[in-house]
C-alpha cells in the first residue's frame, strides 16, 4: 500500500500540481498584538497535519494540503483569507470570534463547515439551526457554568451571598458568558457583577482597584492578548488570592502567566483538553516533523497549552474527514461530505489512545442536532516554580439545564431573524 502510494505520489508530482488533496486551510495570526497566542496554535494545527502526511500518507490514502493565510487577528483580513482559500476547502478554523461571525453566512452558501472550537457563536451548538457551524467539544457558556461548578465544589455546594465578578474583554467574546452567569447567579444565589476592560487592556488599574475595594470571592476572567498578562500581574499586585482567579481557556496559556513570575502562582484556568507534552503523539511529531525540518514554526512550542490545542483541533478535523470518507465510501471528500463526517464524529477514549493522545480530552459524539458535544472542561492551575500547568480537577460536565435553555433561546432567535427552518426532523 505504501509503495503504491509512493508511486502514485511520484507520478502525480511529475505530472504537475497535486489536485486531489484534502485541503485544510489555516487562518493563522503569526503577526500583530495577538501573535504570541496565534503562533503556538498555528504550529500545532499544521504540525499534526504534516505528521499525518509524513507518517500515515495523509488521511485514508489522500495527502493533506494546509495552505495558510495571515489574518493578524483582524476580522476584515480574516474574511479576505476565507475568500482566498475557500475553493475545495474541507473545513475552516477561523480562530477568532469576530471572523467566525462574519463567515457564518458565507460558509453556509459555500457549503464549507466551520469549526470554531471553544470560541465563536455559542448557540451554534444547535445543529438544527446552524447546519454548517460546529463548536465542539465545548463553548463559552459551558465554560462559565463549569467555572461556577468549581466554585460550588470549593464551597460545599453553596454560593449564597458570595460575590463573583466577571472581568472581561469589552467586546463580543468577553460578553458571551454574561447571560449564562446571570442565569447561574439567579439559580445559586451569588451576587454577580461585570467589569469590562477596553482593548488592548494594558492599563487595568481602575478595574483592580475596584476589585480590591469590593473584595469579591471569585473573579472569572475572559481576556485575550496583553489583557491576560496585565490582569495576572495586577491580581498579584493587589494580592488577590490567585486560586480564586479563574480564566477561560483563552486566558490560560504559559504566555499569560510567565511575565508575572512567582506572582502568578496558583492562578487557575479552564481547559477543554489536557496539558503538557507527555503523550506519544508528541514523540511522533518530534520524529517525523520537527527533527525532519518540516515544522510549521521554530519547533519550540511543542507541548505548550496552545500548541496542544492546535494539535487537538487538527486531530478532530482529521477524524471527521476519516468519518466522512467512511460514510461516503470515497477518499476524495468535499466540504459537504466533511460536514456529514463532523455530524457523525465520535471520539472515544480508545480512539484517542490509538492516536497517541490517551486521557487528553473527554469522549464525546456529535449529531445532527448537537454540534457542540457534551461540553466538559477541567480546571488547571499554574505552578510558578516548575513553570507548568496541571489539571486539578477531572473533566466536569456543564450545567446543561441552564446552558441548553440559553442555546435553544438564542438559536431560535437567530433562526427567526434569518428565516431558517429547523432541520434534523
Amino acid at each position: 500500500m505504501k509503495k503504491f502510494l509512493a508511486t502514485a505520489l511520484a507520478t502525480a508530482l511529475l505530472a504537475g500540481p497535486v489536485a486531489a488533496e484534502l485541503k485544510f486551510p489555516s487562518l493563522d495570526y503569526r503577526t500583530g498584538p495577538f501573535a504570541a497566542g496565534g503562533i503556538p496554535f498555528a504550529d500545532g494545527y499544521s504540525d499534526y497535519l504534516t505528521l499525518l502526511n509524513e507518517r500515515d500518507g495523509g488521511i485514508g490514502g489522500e495527502l493533506i494540503s494546509n495552505p495558510t493565510c495571515e489574518t493578524a487577528y483582524n476580522t476584515e483580513k480574516g474574511v479576505e483569507c476565507y475568500e482566498a482559500l475557500k475553493e475545495d476547502a474541507l473545513v475552516f478554523q477561523p480562530l477568532s470570534t469576530g471572523i467566525t461571525y462574519q463567515i457564518i453566512p458565507k460558509a453556509s452558501v459555500d457549503q464549507i463547515p466551520i469549526h470554531s472550537m471553544g470560541y465563536g457563536r455559542t448557540s451554534a451548538a444547535n445543529g438544527k439551526v446552524f447546519e454548517w457551524v460546529f463548536n465542539y467539544p465545548t463553548n463559552y457558556w459551558n465554560g462559565a457554568s463549569i467555572g461556577v461548578k468549581h466554585m460550588l465544589d470549593l464551597n460545599g455546594g453553596d454560593l449564597n451571598g458570595k460575590k463573583v465578578v466577571l472581568l472581561h474583554f469589552n467586546g463580543a467574546y468577553g460578553k458571551e458568558p454574561i447571560p449564562t452567569l446571570e442565569a447561574l447567579s439567579a439559580k445559586h444565589g451569588f451576587e454577580f457583577s461585570t467589569l469590562p476592560i477596553d482593548f488592548p487592556g494594558q492599563e487595568q488599574k481602575s478595574q483592580w482597584l475596584k476589585i480590591r475595594r469590593d473584595k469579591p470571592d471569585y473573579v472569572l476572567f475572559w481576556g485575550w492578548g496583553v489583557m491576560n498578562q496585565v490582569a495576572v500581574q495586577e491580581a498579584a499586585n493587589i494580592r488577590f488570592p490567585m486560586e480564586n482567579f479563574i480564566g477561560i481557556w483563552w486566558s490560560g496559556s504559559e504566555n499569560d502567566v510567565l511575565p508575572a513570575g512567582e506572582g502568578a502562582n496558583g492562578y487557575k484556568a479552564l481547559q477543554f483538553h489536557n496539558v503538557g507534552s507527555d503523550y506519544p503523539v508528541f514523540d511522533d511529531i518530534q520524529k517525523y516533523v520537527v527533527d525532519a525540518g518540516k515544522a510549521a514554526g521554530a519547533g519550540d512550542q511543542v507541548g505548550t497549552v496552545l500548541y496542544n490545542r492546535g494539535v487537538y483541533a487538527a486531530m478532530l478535523a482529521a477524524e471527521a474527514a476519516l468519518t466522512a470518507q467512511k460514510i461516503h465510501g470515497t477518499s476524495k471528500i468535499t466540504g459537504a461530505m466533511m460536514r456529514d463526517g463532523m455530524e457523525a464524529l465520535e471520539i472515544t477514549e480508545e480512539r484517542m489512545a490509538e492516536l497517541g493522545l490517551p486521557n487528553f480530552g473527554p469522549a464525546f459524539s456529535i449529531s445532527c442536532e448537537n454540534h457542540g458535544g457534551r461540553g466538559p472542561a477541567a480546571i488547571s492551575q499554574w505552578d510558578a516554580s516548575s513553570k507548568s500547568w496541571s489539571l486539578v480537577t477531572d473533566f466536569v460536565d456543564p450545567d446543561e439545564e441552564v446552558v441548553n435553555a440559553l442555546i435553544e433561546a438564542d438559536s431560535a432567535a437567530f433562526a427567526a431573524e434569518n428565516n431558517i427552518a429547523e432541520r434534523c426532523n
Binding site: 503562533i39 494594558q202 492599563e203 488599574k205 482597584l209 500581574q233 499586585n237 494580592r239 521554530a298
Partner: protein, 328 residues
C-alpha cells in the same frame, strides 16, 4: 473621612501615577516634533523595539536566529551568556543611537523640505518596518523583563494610610519608580536643552531650520541626536510598560495612550506632555470610578479622547503648545 472620598483619593493618586506612564510615552513624540516638525508614528514601535532589544541582549539571544537557522540549517538560539541589566541598558542605548543614525541616513535626510504629511507617512512606513524587523530579530513570544524593577503594593503607604485613615491606599511600587524616573528624565531634558551647546542648537533647529543652518548648525547631527534621545525615552517607556505586561508586540499600542496626552499638553512642550499625562490619568480614572459603573464601564479610552476633543475645540494648540499663526 467618608468611604467614597477615600476611594476617590486612592483613584486620584493612581490616576496621577498612570498619567506619568502616559507622559513617558508622549515625551518621545514631543522631542521629535519639537526638533523636526515630524509626528513620529513609529514612537510606540520604537518602545517595543527598544524593550525587545534590551531583553534579547540580557538573555544572550542571537538576533535573527530563526532566519539564520532557516537559511543555514543551523540550530542556534542563544550565545550561552547573560548580560547584567545595567550593561544591557547601555548596549540598548547604543543600538537606539545606531537606529537613529540609520533612520536619518536612509529616510529623513532624503525628505528635508518635504510637506509634513510626507514625513508623517514616512514614519508610518518606518513603524511597520520596525515591527517586522523586531519580530524577525527577537521573535514574537512574550518575554519577561527582569531588570530589578519593584512591583506590587507599597507596604509603607498601605500601612501609614491605614493607620491615619482606616483604609490602606494601594500604590504600585512600579508606578513610584516610574514617577521618579520621569522626574529625572524631564529634569535632564530641561537641563540639556537650556544649558548645553547641543541643547541650544536643538532649540534653534526647532525654532527655524533655515536660520539654524545659516549659523552653521548641522541639521543631520541634530536630527540624529533628537532621534537618539527619543530612542532613549522609548527604552524607558518600554521598560516601564514591559514590566507590567511582559515585552510583547502590544507595547507598540501604548502610543494610543500618548495621543490624547499630546492633544491636551501640546505637541511642542515637554512640561505639556507631563501635565497632559496627569490630566488624562486622573481624568479617566475618576470618570471610570464615578460615572463608569452607571454606563457600563470601560470608559477610559473613550474618555481620554473625548477630553482631548474638548481641548481641541477650546485650545487647538494644547495647553502649552505654540500658537500657530499663518500669514496669508
Amino acid at each position: 473621612m467618608p468611604e467614597q472620598l477615600l476611594f476617590a483619593a486612592e483613584v486620584t493618586l493612581n490616576g496621577l501615577m498612570a498619567g506619568v506612564l502616559y507622559a513617558l510615552v508622549a515625551l518621545g513624540f514631543v522631542l521629535i516634533y519639537k526638533a523636526s516638525g515630524i509626528f513620529n508614528y513609529a514612537q510606540g514601535v520604537m518602545a517595543l523595539f527598544a524593550a525587545l532589544t534590551l531583553v534579547g541582549i540580557m538573555e544572550g539571544q542571537v538576533p535573527f536566529a530563526h532566519l539564520i537557522n532557516v537559511i543555514f540549517g543551523t540550530e542556534i538560539h542563544h550565545f550561552g551568556w547573560e548580560v547584567p541589566a545595567l550593561l544591557a541598558i547601555f548596549l540598548t542605548v547604543i543600538v537606539m543611537i545606531i537606529f537613529a543614525w540609520l533612520v536619518n541616513h536612509f529616510v529623513m535626510r532624503h525628505l528635508i523640505n518635504q510637506e509634513p504629511i510626507i514625513l508623517f507617512m514616512a514614519t508610518i512606513g518606518l513603524a511597520y518596518f520596525l515591527e517586522g524587523v523586531g519580530d524577525l530579530m527577537w521573535g514574537s513570544d512574550i518575554k519577561r523583563l527582569e531588570v530589578g524593577l519593584p512591583q506590587g503594593i507599597n507596604e509603607f503607604i498601605d500601612e501609614k494610610t491605614f493607620e491615619a485613615l482606616g483604609y490602606g491606599f494601594f500604590i504600585d511600587n512600579l508606578d513610584i519608580v516610574a514617577t521618579i524616573i520621569a522626574v529625572i528624565l524631564v529634569a535632564g531634558l530641561v537641563i540639556f536643552s537650556q544649558y548645553t551647546t547641543q541643547g541650544r542648537a536643538l532649540r534653534a533647529v526647532a525654532d527655524d531650520h533655515q536660520a539654524a543652518l545659516s549659523v552653521g548648525i548641522s541639521l543631520n547631527f541634530i536630527w540624529v541626536l533628537v532621534w537618539s534621545i527619543a530612542g532613549f525615552v522609548a527604552l524607558v517607556a518600554g521598560m516601564m510598560w514591559g514590566a507590567k505586561s511582559g515585552v510583547q508586540f502590544s507595547l507598540s499600542l501604548i502610543a494610543l495612550k500618548a495621543l490624547p496626552v499630546l492633544l491636551i499638553g501640546g505637541f511642542t512642550s515637554i512640561p505639556g506632555a507631563i501635565i497632559g499625562g496627569l490630566i488624562i490619568g486622573v481624568g479617566e480614572k475618576l470618570f471610570e470610578f464615578s460615572i463608569g459603573p452607571l454606563i457600563g464601564g470601560a470608559t477610559e479610552n473613550w474618555f481620554a479622547y473625548v477630553l482631548a476633543l474638548v481641548f481641541l475645540c477650546i485650545r487647538p494648540q494644547g495647553l502649552f503648545g505654540d500658537k500657530i499663526i499663518e500669514r496669508v
